[in-house]
Amino acid sequence: MSHPDKPYIPDRNKVAPMDRFSLAKLLRQGFAGQTGWGAQWRAPERPEAAYDVVIVGGGGHGLATAYYLAKEHNIRRVAVIERGWIGGGNTGRNTTIIRSNYLMPESAALYDHSVKLWETLSQQLNYNVMYSPRGVLMLAHNVHDVQSAMRHIHANRLAGVDNEWLDPAQVKAFCPPLNVGGPLRYPILGGALQRRGGTARHDAVAWGFARAASALGVDIVQNCAVTGLKRDATGAISGVETTRGDIACKKVGVVAAGHTSVVMAMAGVRMPLESYPLQALVSEPVKPAFPCVVMSNTIHAYISQSDKGEMVIGAGTDAYTSYSQTGGLHIATQTLDAICELVPQFRRLRMLRNWGGIVDLSPDRSPILSKTDVAGLYVNSGWGTGGFKATPGSGNVFAHTIAHDEPHPINAPFSLARFDTGLLIDEAAAAAVAH
């Protein structure tokens, strides 16, 4: 396919420097009735004929990858190709819980790399991503939960990641709405608290990375689906086919979450992934009533209150694979039953919206950030139910992997090859719930 009209060719040296936000600008806009804000990133109608790197998928991870390629590796001829609108995939559908208290040392290193980046991300991007480290409390309801929490806490402390045990009285003090001591089917026996954990604003993360990447020369092309991956005579990547024209490139990073298997199949690569619907729902907005993030693996529930005031609630995955983007109603009902026991005053809340995202689950529930057997093809996937928290860290190490054709030490263990060697990073048993 050739370009229907004349190709779009920006002069990358003339890409306007980022129009930075400041207090003065905010005041001026206030007096002008907020009418003077321009577009925050360039949005070319179609891709150019060639790039150094093409990123497939404009979610948070794809946009972060492009940003760090330009920022840290000076690779600026980069396109992010997005089928829909940026952040319209799982990035815009998730419950935004951020934490790094994973059991395995490899995971703790990867997720904590990300938490450290979250801490200064708003300043880095000059965009408020509303990172709010309000604490993530993971409840224990039975002897097994308590033992598992203790094991995590000790493992995390050895890995230099904060995580502490709260007894029931301390749980009640930290999160007063919880029904501690009540006659529950799953009583609250305590909880593991990561104080540096919290939430961030999902859309702002996509927009902030898009804006900063665009200012460094990255092209973000929306409403453009990748339909094929092209290979040269040696089998190496030579370009991609899209619904808005073909692109020549030597490197492609696939960051397509639930659609990773579909995109990788275009190069004949079978992935160790299965795509499942995962759903979330929000209540009507109410005054601040829930001070932290609460999760429970045992009853498959997680709750936080957004800055708008909605209770944001996540449920479990469906029992079978699907690309339908809707979860089973009985799954959400189960979660709501359990949450109404945990927080009795939520019984009177009305739920406003629920939706599903398609998450890519790997066999060991750890991500895959890897080179592949196809030269020039890289994949960032398998984040499943819990990759939002890793957005900056994932983009950071994946950009390194693409730029150097070698993984960063932090993502080296998260290779595709681990499914052949058996060196799995088994978080499956440790975190059998979305988060």
């Binding site: 079978r270 299965e274 694979t321 699907s322 499914f419």
Partner: protein, 80 residues
């Protein structure tokens, strides 16, 4: 709730069933002659298609029967 056609009991609610994933995976016949990559592919690689999927089900809270079905993973409809 979604209804799943058990070949013995007919259509029953989905919570009576367990899902067994991709159908037709065969264990390598000669383990000693199987490479790591072949084992990896057998254990972990999956088609995961957006579209028709041949898959394994069990009517665990009913008659206990194992069976295969074809489902369109976009609409979740079973295809006879």
């Amino acid at each position: 709730m979604k209804l799943i056609p058990c070949p013995i009991c007919g259509e029953r609610a989905e919570i009576e069933f367990t899902y067994g994933g991709q159908a037709g995976l065969t264990r390598p016949a000669d383990p000693a002659a199987t490479t790591e990559a072949e084992w990896g592919a057998f254990l972990y690689a999956r088609e995961n298609p957006k579209g028709m999927h041949r898959e394994r089900w069990r009517h665990i809270h009913g008659c206990g029967q194992f069976f295969n079905l074809t489902r369109d993973t976009v609409t979740d409809r079973f295809i006879p």
